[in-house]
């Protein structure tokens, strides 16, 4: 009996939220637990998953990146320009990723070398990235029509969710980086105790820089898939993504100030957000109410999540 109790206790609270919501939605509508809806969910959530993973890296290192939405937008725009210029698809992927990498490098430079606070820096660079995206697109979305490119983000034969597959690859890549490379280990070390990490011989300045660059790189990759899925590079597409990414990170159990967390947990946060959003449509909650309901559920989930983690730490 005790054993069952302890296993139940080990299940993250957020998983209960997810289960309850799925049950609730499937009772209210028989459309919810269908293969078709599941595929749509996968397609919608997958890009956010990659951006949230990028955010998770930065938050574990004790920082914050508010410019991820801006990076997502700008990388999407450069990728769209590249594909419309007739470049092959691998080059387009590299263009997107490289744009993200350069943006992240700029953030990292300002934060780790110049010593600015992450919050302010990325608030400023966010404006810069959005501004560049607006200038490059002339304030209008760039439509993308290359068939092969669009198939990267579409449902092939209505059954194979390509966007989800691509993003799953990027996500696995992020997990491997976190678990098996120096970058992953040093991220935790810097977040846990930066001074201690420096004294034990880690070049914290360099590695902090790399963390931001890597987050930019991941976001750039995600941006290419997003453009392929939406078939347009919109200069305002990234609005609010950075906040959603941070909310998902926190919901996934990553702590904002002690270098603790996990890219693997982030998927739970993304799942919750995606499920609520699609579920409200399926059970026909009027759009007037949706944002209030989503906000309330998210904040409740975060309160539960953080208070249970805090209790666990005290023990």
């Amino acid at each position: 009996m005790d054993k069952i109790k302890s296993t139940f206790k080990r299940v993250p609270i957020i998983l209960w939220f997810i289960v309850v919501l799925i049950v609730l939605f499937s009772i209210r509508s028989d459309q919810y637990l269908t293969m078709r809806n599941l595929l749509v969910l996968l397609q919608q959530g997958s890009v956010l998953l990659v951006v949230a993973s990028a955010s998770t890296f930065v938050i574990i290192s004790g920082g914050l990146d508010l410019s991820l939405g801006g990076i997502l937008t700008l990388s999407g725009v450069t990728a769209a320009l590249a594909i419309n210029a007739g470049l092959p698809i691998p080059t387009v992927l590299i263009t997107g990723a490289l744009t993200g990498f350069v943006c992240g490098t700029l953030n990292g430079f300002l934060i780790s070398v110049c010593g600015l606070q992450p919050f302010i820096t990325t608030l400023g660079t966010q404006g810069v990235f959005y501004g560049l995206a607006l200038v490059l697109t002339n304030k209008q979305g760039i439509p993308v029509s290359n068939e092969a490119f669009i198939s990267l983000g579409g449902l092939i034969n209505r059954t194979i969710p390509m966007a989800a597959i691509c993003c799953a690859i990027f996500y696995l890549f992020a997990i491997v980086v976190q678990d098996h490379t120096r970058l992953g280990r040093y991220t935790f070390a810097i977040g846990g105790n930066e001074e201690g990490a420096r004294l034990s011989g880690i070049d914290t300045r360099l590695w902090k820089w790399i963390v931001y660059a890597f987050a930019g790189f991941l976001t750039g990759l995600a941006a290419v898939i997003l453009v392929a899925r939406l078939e347009v590079a919109d200069p305002l597409v990234g609005t609010k993504w950075e906040f959603e990414a941070i909310a998902c990170t926190i919901l996934g159990g990553t702590s904002m100030n002690i270098g603790k967390g996990d890219v693997k947990g982030t998927i739970l946060g993304v799942t919750l957000l995606t499920i609520i959003r699609s579920g409200l449509n399926v059970i026909r909650v009027p759009s007037l109410w949706q944002s209030a309901v989503i906000g309330t559920v998210i904040i409740l989930a975060i309160v539960f999540q953080v208070s249970t983690t805090a209790r666990g730490e005290k023990k």
């Binding site: 110049c114 606070q117 919050f119 608030l123 002339n138 941070i246 906000g295 904040i299 208070s307």
Partner: protein, 330 residues
């Protein structure tokens, strides 16, 4: 004894130098404005700039108090919106007297601030997360209350708060702003509560040890921030004579930028209202200059972004220089 006084004077001089550097930025922008258009320093333009900066400043005062004590209050834009919406609906649909409507709306602001304070101080959420989550919900509720409509055309006595002017050039918003700036400065510099804010912000543990109840102080700081956001919402409605369910969303980033450009440290315990005032003036005047130059709107975000980074970078460089010199003299 004399040693500690000496240290005090030195710290003061560091903050004095960095406030001089901020004033220099303001001066450069004013000079640039004069070069762009000779009427930049006309009475009319100045009074307009001041009035436009007022909304940013009143919102910024609450934000400054929150940041000094604990961290940014990202819900301020949404609280501003919902308070404006509530005041407007009470006046329009229920014919409530405007004084009562304002009081009720500000009360709602206090309540939302208290909710933030509770989540941060007692539940232990990072301020960034709890206030952002609340913002999400509050914007949603503002939309629900207003059902997506736009309300306009309010009672002229009410509109006087935002639209009227004294002696022909001094706009009422500016007067309200000055009152709140004085209130905020006195609160932070002259009262016990103000000193406790700085103490909790710079080192919560130490503040706790010296007999301050940090949870209570954080709670109060966020209630204040909520209240001032509410006041801003009412000022906005009175000035613009219209209200929608998203008026505050355009203010969130500028107000954060304003406070940080004003030298309030993101890690807490440092900063003040005057910096925020200068920051808001810089922000407003840059927008004014961009308008005069007819800079296309797509460049604005980028320019303001660069401005934020440059001002903060300048501030940090000055502080580092000062710290180095101090070390040499000691």
């Amino acid at each position: 004894m004399s040693g500690s006084r000496l240290k005090n004077r030195k710290r003061l001089s560091t903050s004095a130098v960095s406030s001089v550097s901020r004033l220099a930025v303001l001066l450069i922008i004013i000079i640039m404005g004069c070069i762009i258009d000779s009427s930049f320093l006309s009475m009319r333009n100045i009074s307009n700039n001041l009035a436009n900066a007022s909304i940013l400043i009143v919102l910024g005062i609450g934000q400054t108090i929150a940041i000094i004590t604990n961290g940014p209050d990202l819900s301020s834009g949404s609280v501003m919106t919902i308070c404006g919406v509530i005041a407007a609906i009470l006046m329009k649909s229920y014919d409530v007297n405007f004084v009562l409507a304002i009081l009720l709306a500000v009360l709602v602001g206090c309540f939302l601030g208290a909710l933030n304070g509770y989540m941060i101080a007692y539940v232990g959420l990072p301020s960034f997360i709890s206030t952002y989550g609340l913002q999400w919900a509050v914007f949603g509720f503002a939309y629900v209350i207003l059902k997506g409509y736009v309300l306009y055309d309010f009672d002229p006595t009410f509109r006087f708060i935002g639209n009227g002017s004294l002696f022909g050039f001094l706009q009422m918003t500016t007067v309200v702003m000055v009152v709140f700036v004085i209130f905020g400065t006195l609160l932070l510099k002259k009262t016990n509560f103000g000193r406790q804010c700085y103490a909790v912000g710079s080192n919560r543990e130490a503040a706790n040890m010296s007999g301050i109840d940090p949870q209570k102080v954080i709670m109060k700081a966020f209630i204040l921030s909520g209240m001032l956001s509410g006041v801003t919402g009412i000022l906005y409605v009175a000035r613009m004579n219209t209200v929608q369910s998203d008026i505050g969303s355009a203010y969130l980033l500028p107000v954060l930028a304003t406070v940080y450009m004003g030298g309030t440290s993101a890690s807490g315990g440092e900063g003040g209202i005057w910096g925020t005032v200068v920051g808001a003036l810089v922000m407003t005047m840059v927008t004014n200059c961009l308008n005069l130059l007819a800079v296309p709107s797509e460049w604005r975000d980028a320019i303001i972004g660069v401005l934020i980074i440059v001002t903060v970078l300048l501030d940090i460089t000055v502080k580092k220089r000062m710290a180095k010199r101090k070390r040499v003299t000691v």
